[in-house]
Amino acid sequence: MQIDLTPFRRAFLDESAEHVAALEEGLLRLESQPEDSELLSSIFRAAHSVKGGAGSFGFEDVARFTHSVENLLDRMRNGLVRVERSLVDLLLRANDVLKCLLEAARAKEYGQPAAAACDTRAIVAELQQRLGAPDGHAASAAPAAAGATASPKSTSLWRIEFAPHADFFRTGSDPLLLLRELAGLGRVASIEADLHAVPSWDAFEPEDCYLAWRIELESSATLAELNDVFLFSSDDARVQIQPGEAARADAPDTAVSTASVDAAPAVAHGAAQTPSGTQRRSGAESASIRVSVEKVDQLINVIGELVIAQSMVADVVNNFSPERVGQLREAVLAVERNTRDLQERVMAVRMVPIGSIFSRFPRIVRDLAAQLGKEVRLELEGEETELDKGVVEKISDPLTHLIRNSLDHGVEPPDERERCGKPREGVVRLRALTEGGSVFVEIADDGAGLNTERIRAKALEKGLMRPDDNWSQEQIHQLIFQPAFSTAAKVSDVSGRGVGMDVVKKNVESLGGAVAIHSTRGQGARFRIKLPLTLAILDGLSLSVGGQIFILPLVSIVESFRPRATALKTLLSGGEVALVRGQALPLLRAHRLLGIENAQTDPTKALLAIVESDGRRVALLVDELCGQSQVVIKNLDANFRRVEGVMGATIMGDGRVALILDVPGLIRLSEGTSSTLALA
């Protein structure tokens, strides 16, 4: 029977893109943590997965190339080649070539014209050179190639330490099976159980595993084969396999190999950081989307309800009598509600974490900093913030440009920084957060800041403003978004041509967003991109005040409890405070701020939710908390207008609208600094 491999090949190509991304991320981390053997193993695993898949699916050139990369990685893993910057450089370049090869394979697979040919030869030659010798292991494709150097025919002595974790049994594993499998590989010279961990009877948990074993095995098996025995229990046990004395002489380069066993969780971690394949460049961009299981489960739930609702309708229609009109109406309403729910959940599938594009920036910053001769550290924050896939894809270019801009114009050269009394290493922070119904993406650097005078002079020269214009700093700063506006003294490769900033602004505005600049001369600049949240999903806690349901963003809640009367104080000014662990927090009465009657006004019979915004904590008085849920945020201003203290609305399971509270807005309301409410 002929099996069509096309879907598998395509899945491989998608997966490989993720592996390549994981590789890149791993390599960048490796630079700062060269001693991290676990990290190295995860890098190795990623390369190995690509190689294995490529071989199976007939991408010969990819397999061959990855093999030479893998060889070098293996040497590094075994400590034979030292990790250093130039080596990481080489591997990053090799990764680029790999990306190019995969791109070409993808183009071929989908029948698109191939991109530029990828030159593998130069890189392969360099890789070979690093290996220090002609590729001796080329023929060996086993995962732990170096471990296999012991002559496969001769038997050798292996020392194996096997210590399952306490919860080993709960994963359905059985040490006995593993020991039997080991015994099947050779002759057990000695086995010794370690009973140290066994507790006294009263502390004994019958379902915990307290035992560990030391085994000496005479076997002709290779290290890889031995590792394979523990492959599926690697997460739940500590395994150490060492060649005994006799074998060590034959295999001088076989080091302790705990690496491949530890690698599994590390790889999973790497993959989690690049959760979607959006890193591929345009063209192949929308090929697939990675969705969390939770979202799919929710979809399945809704579909289940829809099927039930549909059968209700069918039942009423099949046995129809005029009295059942009410039932029919109800059933149809249920269908309607479920359909709407389904629609929203499907939309939610399109929401991807912004981290999928953040993860490309460490590489960009690293290369660019080197090119500019600057020392820059990139800090990422809020990668888990979810945005519509379309928005995430479109925001990538503006972000790239702003980061390049920060590196080129913002952060000063190390010597100059030292003269200004700053650390030599500049910091660029990339941060995403959800606040007040919008998603904000910030690019902040601790560099020189914008030179307001120079921008002003340039604007005068270009006739963009008149000398007598009395503009605020912010207004002047906004001028840098004008087309062909550059104050850079010299044009560099990176930026300074005055194209780009206007594109940044145009792209952001086409998404319905805005860019704000905060800059302090000598201390740095911060670009804040505000993006609309029309589709964003929020983890919320539903609470009730006077019988009305509101949603509070989960991120802003610190804790909640029912206060004692002694913890409440009224100040002379009339303000109220709640003492929380010795700290006096302003008490905000939600019912008063929101103008709700029939609410519980006695704090000792209600609940205090301690909420936080911009580092400020306040105690919000609410009647009760109802539960946690994920909600789809709908804008109020689409058909109405912004309401202070409310960041949006959501539609709940029963079809009613619930308002989502905005903590900063509530605080503003309580301070009476609210700007709205100018109503007819």
Binding site: L636, N639, F640, R641, V643, E644, I651, L659
Partner: protein, 155 residues
């Protein structure tokens, strides 16, 4: 809801008419999206009284305004005739709570008279005119004006 122009004849306009207290009002039928039975709305904090709140219209969050309160009439109990007329104003969808919907009124342009002064009870600036058919008198609403006073909705 039939929103097609049935008569191309010169200047025959159609209005959906509804009742508020004892008065009959009309809005151009081209502005009406649908008519819904009254269902519970979610109040909006610190909103003026005539803004009853928001409700879910097939996934969109729609504000619901009480026309009685908008026009300074006393609030009425919700009855089974109380409906929400969903209209389009300035590209926004707004629900209007009215006492009851009557019918669709066809009238010629020349049967519409400019608005006479109605005294203090009803602010006539909301009206484009009065449609007269025999004894029947329908006040025609200018929706932009009705909401024009609302800063955000006019934007």
């Amino acid at each position: 809801m039939n929103t097609t122009k049935q008569a191309d004849a010169a200047d025959v306009r159609q209005y959906l008419t509804f009742r508020l207290a004892q008065e009959e009002y009309g809005v151009s039928i081209l502005r009406v999206q649908e008519i819904k039975g009254y269902s519970a709305v979610t109040p909006i904090p610190n909103a003026p009284p005539h803004v009853r709140g928001v409700m879910n219209l097939r996934g969109a969050v729609m504000p619901v305004l009480d026309l009685r309160l908008r026009f300074g009439l006393p609030q009425a109990e919700t009855t089974k005739f109380t409906v929400i007329v969903v209209v389009n104003v300035a590209n926004k969808i707004v629900g209007l709570v009215v006492d009851a919907v009557n019918d669709v009124l066809d009238c010629d342009a020349h049967s519409i008279e400019p608005c006479p002064s109605l005294g203090a009870g009803v602010d006539t600036s909301f009206l484009t005119g009065m449609a007269k058919q025999g004894e029947r008198l329908v006040a025609l609403l200018d929706l932009e004006r009705v909401f024009g006073v609302e800063p955000a909705l006019a934007a």
